[in-house]
């Protein structure tokens, strides 16, 4: 599937910002699932300095500075991405018991598998929390194949947790999410990561977009899409396999990935430090179109 994604972020400041330094992870990466055909930034006011580089997780990062006084900052990124249809049947066909895989990962001397162990550990936003292992073990029965167990975990999060944007903020602790059984895609993904990691399995956070299809007969509204998040789990035979707990599905060709890391903190789409500015307002518009 061929998509055109446009993501606009606008900050409006109460008073003048004299300088700001920012980093963005808003360029889709290319891997075996998707290919980023083109992607460009449009920043207003124009930055005095702009660079891009690859971070430790393989994401493309854009650094930019604006050193002219401004009261509004608009960042638009337009990307064209080709997403392949992933064959899910294949994944489940070669499924192996999760506990065997876990031991295999621990003992492996294979370089790639050693590096993957970073994703087995707690991370800044996914700490070790009480009760999460018990929660996970309900899906991860001894000897159950990894893909199957993970799909079950995803399904349980989908049915047992309420999607509630009013409940969470950027800093809602994972413990609260587990306790109140509420959250948004970011929380559900973090919870899944905590569950998998509590069992010693490598799991990572994926940020990106999902194509939304309007109800029959209605025109899709401009900018109505949102940035989205899901997770992936690693197995030595299949590599990283993605799961979307918010929608209870294994992504095929409607998910466009931007960046991946240990948790949201590693892949924050846009952050910055400003000098001056007073209070500020934030406006985000995302538009995902089939081409």
């Amino acid at each position: 599937m061929h998509y055109r994604v446009s993501h606009t972020t606008r900050y409006t400041y109460e008073s003048t910002v004299t300088v700001c330094q920012n980093i963005a992870r808003l360029t889709p990466y290319s891997n075996h699932n998707q290919r980023c055909l083109k992607s460009f930034f449009n920043i207003d006011p124009a930055p005095q300095c702009m660079r891009s580089y690859m971070d430790a997780f393989g994401n493309q990062v854009t650094y930019f500075e604006i050193s002219r006084p401004h009261q509004e900052l608009t960042i638009t990124v337009v990307s064209e991405v080709e997403v392949k249809n992933q064959s899910q049947q294949e994944l489940f066909k070669t499924d192996v018991p999760w506990d065997r895989l876990r031991d295999q990962i621990r003992a492996s001397r294979d370089e790639r598998t050693i590096m993957v162990r970073d994703y087995c550990l707690p991370s800044p936003l996914v700490p070790i929390i009480a009760g999460v292992q018990e929660y996970a073990l309900q899906s991860f029965l001894p000897g159950r194949p990894l893909m199957e167990a993970t799909r079950d975990l995803m399904q349980r999060i989908f049915t047992e947790f309420k999607y509630d944007p009013s409940f969470t903020t950027i800093s809602t602790p994972l413990q609260d999410v587990l306790q109140h059984r509420k959250g948004v895609c970011q929380d559900f993904s973090h919870l899944a990561l905590a569950s998998l990691r509590s069992l010693g399995l490598p799991a990572r956070y994926v940020s990106g977009y999902i194509e939304t299809i309007p109800p029959e007969g209605e025109e899709k509204m401009q900018g109505s899409d949102a940035s989205h998040a899901w997770f992936s789990v690693y197995s030595p035979n299949n590599g990283w396999v993605e799961f979307d707990p918010t929608n209870n599905l294994v992504p095929d060709d409607q998910h466009i990935s931007l960046a991946q890391g240990r948790d949201f903190a590693d892949v924050t789409p846009l952050k910055g430090v400003i000098f001056g500015g007073g209070k500020h307002e934030l406006d985000v518009a995302v538009d995902v179109r089939r081409e």
Binding site: A56, D118, L121, I170, A226, I274, F275
Partner: protein, 867 residues
């Protein structure tokens, strides 16, 4: 001396040494002693003999005197260590024991080769962990040792692919191990502190133990700093000859701020805080009063995670947003390199021997304390089974180091649970035996447990070890715990040598060409702002304290004679006091007669109340902290005076002096302020910093005189009262003598205005201050130099205008009275005009030179999935 007498003296020396050793030997409690040969408690190691013989010759009083001297010298040099959680927020004077720790040449050579190898190895490990990570891939190091470390910053991975700045300063803590050799038990690779304290300790010791120092051949420390300076400049490669180097400190609240200030002035680098730097075009710039100036090398004392709020810890106010990017592009070199805290992990210890074999083809030369990382099952089981014998450390200092043996049963079980819940985070370490070394306690040479901190600097592809270090001893004979936070005592470390060691000068070699290039030290905007305010506070304190003195005199006059005219004058003085200190309502509250009946309470509060903003003591406090913020810019003597002011403040806060004591305190404060003022005039070189300081003083003085003249001469209530007012005014402005001499027979308001307002030659007049302000502004750097800009800045125009107004003023017209309300409208109008002009000058100066001094904030992040 006849040979007989000589022999007798030698015999006497010998007896005294024997006695000293006998006493000492009795109290030695542990297997290894630095001075005594092991196994024989009376046999002294040869390299200790000359020192101990000299000390044995001294009477206990002499020794005690040395102890006293050591403390005094350290205090007077202002060597302090900020103690966290001290409610008074004061720093603690560095405790110094005058008996040095001696290291023989052979012992030192072993330590040196061991530490150099260790530093090289640690440097290799650092670059691998942030680079190709071969150690993990080849299985030489379990991956979790890196991944579970809070100090492993993913943002720094791949940062050093091109330029490979070394772990520039490496520090190791040493203690004697079971075999009597020195062992490492802790490494510092992030922003190691202590070398400045070692240097200051040496300087103090060469005064206190001058003869002993001369008699021993002790290796000099200055070589180390010279090497460090050369090596630091080299780091920049050959891009230019004269890189700009700054020392970045977390600021005056940091525990080792003294050292940062001290080293920066010793090494000749500008001392900066994060907010003094800015990233533009992914280069780092110093915000100085000359504008932005590019920085090439940052020697940082700020911890890794605080260095950049954009890519590292978001809540840091100590760093520079964009710094990581500037490093990534090779536009600045930061040492120690960002991310370096990972290699101070004690979890590395068990793996170092194998890494050394695999990578260097060598055995580890320096033993280190046996350590067990709990991330491995067998090791974890061992640690859990031996909790009471081991030291438990966190791999990244996210938890405190604890001695398992000193815990209660309950605490030990809690620790066990924490280890079991998160084993990757913990390391158990064998507790080193330590050795004891002679220390001076109550005039006696007594053994104390000892630790040594060694300092290495990367130079020419390897490392160079400071021939000396910071020795610390336990506070009593049984104590194991030795930290500065809990009150350890430090010692100088003398590394002895056969060869006389020449002192190295830190001044650049005049033939090397670097003199001509002469990077002038820039004044950071923040320092300029601090100096400006120190000037203002110093002047304000002086003004307030003088006015207080005049008020007290008036008060006692009035108490004696109960004269109505005295009372009228006193009231004016009191209201001036409120105006000058801005402690409203105070004596200007309308219809408050009571306060004038018994003014003592309010006067006392204006002097001593810390809760009253504007009071004398809080102004002095602001002066002290302002000065502390730019600790690096004061000469040693000036700092001594500032430190005295700090002592005065704590004294006043602690004693809560009574009103009747006010007089004594006033005199002491005036003395200190005058000493400060004198030293700043005489010993600060007249560069931008001094101009800023003096601008503050002049501006403040002008504003004070305006307030006083307005209060005391602004209206006319009969010649008798006016006479008293004039005298009070002149006396509070140190101008009474001049005034009397000049206008002996013709004292009048007109004469007073001529002297204090209009006379450009009188250093206390408003006109004189304006003249000085004009002069200082002309000396400050101009940031825009083009032919099109006006010759004068806005503030200079304002000053020129005010000066002209004052020159054109005619004294007789100024003092003319309004018949209806007895005020002097012309005088009041003039004072108001000058006052508002000066306030606008103050705003313009801060806008021009200090406007850079704000902090960055995080942009609100956007939540994913929010609809």
């Amino acid at each position: 001396m006849p040979s007989q007498a000589k022999r007798e003296a030698a015999q006497d020396d010998h007896a005294k040494l024997e006695a000293l050793l006998y006493q000492y030997g009795k109290s030695v409690r542990i297997a290894h002693d630095e001075m005594l040969a092991s196994g024989d408690e009376h046999l002294i190691k040869p390299h200790w003999i000359p020192l101990m013989r000299a000390l044995g010759r001294s009477a206990p009083e002499e020794l005690e005197h040395k102890n006293h001297e050591a403390r005094r010298v350290m205090r007077e040099s202002g060597v302090t260590y900020n103690v966290y959680n001290d409610p008074e927020g004061r720093s603690r004077a560095w405790q110094l024991d005058p008996v040095p720790m001696l290291m023989s040449q052979e012992d030192w050579a072993t330590i040196e080769s061991g530490l150099v190898q260790r530093a090289e190895l640690i440097n290799l490990i650092f670059h691998d962990l942030y680079g190709k990570q071969r150690l993990l891939k080849e299985g030489l190091l379990p991956a979790e040792i890196l991944y579970a470390h809070q100090g492993f910053h993913r943002a720094c991975v791949g940062l050093y692919e091109n330029a490979k700045p070394p772990i520039f300063n490496y520090t190791a803590d040493l203690a004697r191990g079971p075999d009597g050799k020195m062992w490492v038990f802790s490494d510092r690779t992030q922003a190691p502190s202590g070398s400045g304290y070692a240097l200051e300790t040496r300087i103090a010791m060469s005064r206190v133990m001058a003869s002993e120092f001369r008699a021993s051949q002790v290796r000099r420390l200055s070589h180390y700093f010279r090497t460090m300076r050369g090596a630091l400049a080299e780091l920049h490669g050959d891009r230019y000859d004269d890189p700009r180097i700054v020392l970045m400190t977390p600021g005056p609240l940091n525990e080792t701020y003294f050292e940062h200030a001290y080293l920066s002035s010793y090494l000749g680098y500008t001392l900066v805080q994060g907010a003094d730097l800015t990233v533009r075009d992914s280069k780092v710039w110093l915000k100085s009063i000359d504008g932005l100036s590019q920085v090439d090398i940052i020697l940082r004392r700020v911890d890794d995670s605080f260095c950049d709020p954009l890519e590292l810890r978001e809540d840091s106010h100590l760093g520079v947003p964009g710094l990581v990017q500037a490093v990534r592009e090779g536009n600045v070199t930061v040492v120690n390199p960002l991310g370096s805290s990972v290699v101070e992990s004690p979890a590395l210890y068990p793996f170092l021997a194998n890494i050394a074999k695999a990578w260097l083809g060598e055995d580890l030369k320096m033993p280190c304390a046996a350590s067990w990382w709990c991330g491995q099952k067998k090791e974890r089981d061992y640690v859990l089974a031996n909790l009471d014998k081991l030291v438990i450390k966190s791999i990244d200092r996210s938890a405190c180091t604890v001695f398992g043996g000193s815990l209660s049963r309950l605490e030990r079980e809690e620790l066990r649970a924490r280890i079991e819940a998160n084993p990757l985070q913990f390391v158990g370490q064998e507790r080193l035996a330590c050795s004891s070394t002679p220390a001076l306690v109550n005039g006696q040479i007594t053994p104390r447990r000892v630790l040594l901190r060694s300092f290495l600097v990367a130079s020419e592809g390897s490392y160079s070890l400071m021939p000396g270090g910071l020795t610390r001893i336990a506070p009593d004979n049984d104590s194991f715990l030795i930290t500065n936070q809990s009150g350890g005592i430090s010692k100088d470390t003398w590394v002895l040598t056969d060869q006389p060691d020449r002192q190295a000068s830190l001044l650049p070699d005049p033939n090397s060409g670097s003199l001509q290039a002469g990077t002038e030290t820039l004044l950071p905007s923040r320092s300029a702002e601090n100096l400006f305010w120190v000037g203002r506070y110093a002047e304000r304190s002086e003004g307030v304290v003088r006015l207080l003195r005049t008020v007290l005199q008036k008060l006692s006059d009035y108490d004696e004679y109960r004269d109505a005219t005295d009372q009228a004058c006193l009231r004016k003085m009191l209201s001036s006091l409120t105006h000058m200190t801005e402690t409203f309502p105070g004596f200007v509250e309308p219809d408050n007669e009571e306060i004038f009946e018994r003014p003592e309470k309010e006067i006392h509060a204006v002097a001593f109340s810390m809760e009253k903003p504007g009071s004398l003591i809080s102004t002095l406090n602001a002066l002290f902290y302002g000065a502390f913020n730019v600790r690096d810019l004061w000469s040693a003597d000036t700092w001594r005076i500032i430190d005295d002011i700090g002592e005065l403040i704590s004294g006043m806060r602690a004693q809560k002096p009574s009103f009747f004591n006010l007089h004594n305190h006033i005199d002491t404060i005036i003395d200190a302020l005058m000493a400060f003022s004198g030293l700043t005039q005489e010993s600060m070189s007249h560069e931008s910093g001094w101009f800023m300081f003096d601008l503050g003083k002049r501006l403040e003085r002008a504003l004070q005189v305006i307030k006083l003249v307005r209060n005391l001469l602004g209206d006319f209530n009969g010649p008798l009262e006016e006479q008293l007012n004039i005298e009070a005014l002149m006396s509070s402005q140190e101008s009474l003598m001049t005034y009397r001499r000049r206008y002996r027979l013709a004292s009048s308001a007109m004469a007073a205005c001529s002297l204090l307002v209009l006379d450009e030659n009188h250093p206390r007049s408003i006109a004189y201050q304006i003249l000085k302000l004009q002069d200082h502004c002309a000396h400050l750097p101009r940031q825009v130099k083009t032919v099109f800009t006006a010759h004068l800045n806005d503030e200079e125009k304002t000053l020129l205008h005010v000066r002209t107004v004052l020159q054109l003023a005619e004294p007789d017209k100024l003092v003319a009275c309004d018949e209806t309300d007895n005020t002097r409208p012309a005088l009041l109008a003039l004072l108001n005009e000058v006052e508002s002009a000066l306030l606008s000058v103050s705003v313009e100066i801060s806008h021009r030179y200090f406007s850079h001094t704000d902090y960055g904030r995080q942009l609100a992040p956007q939540l994913t999935g929010e609809e």
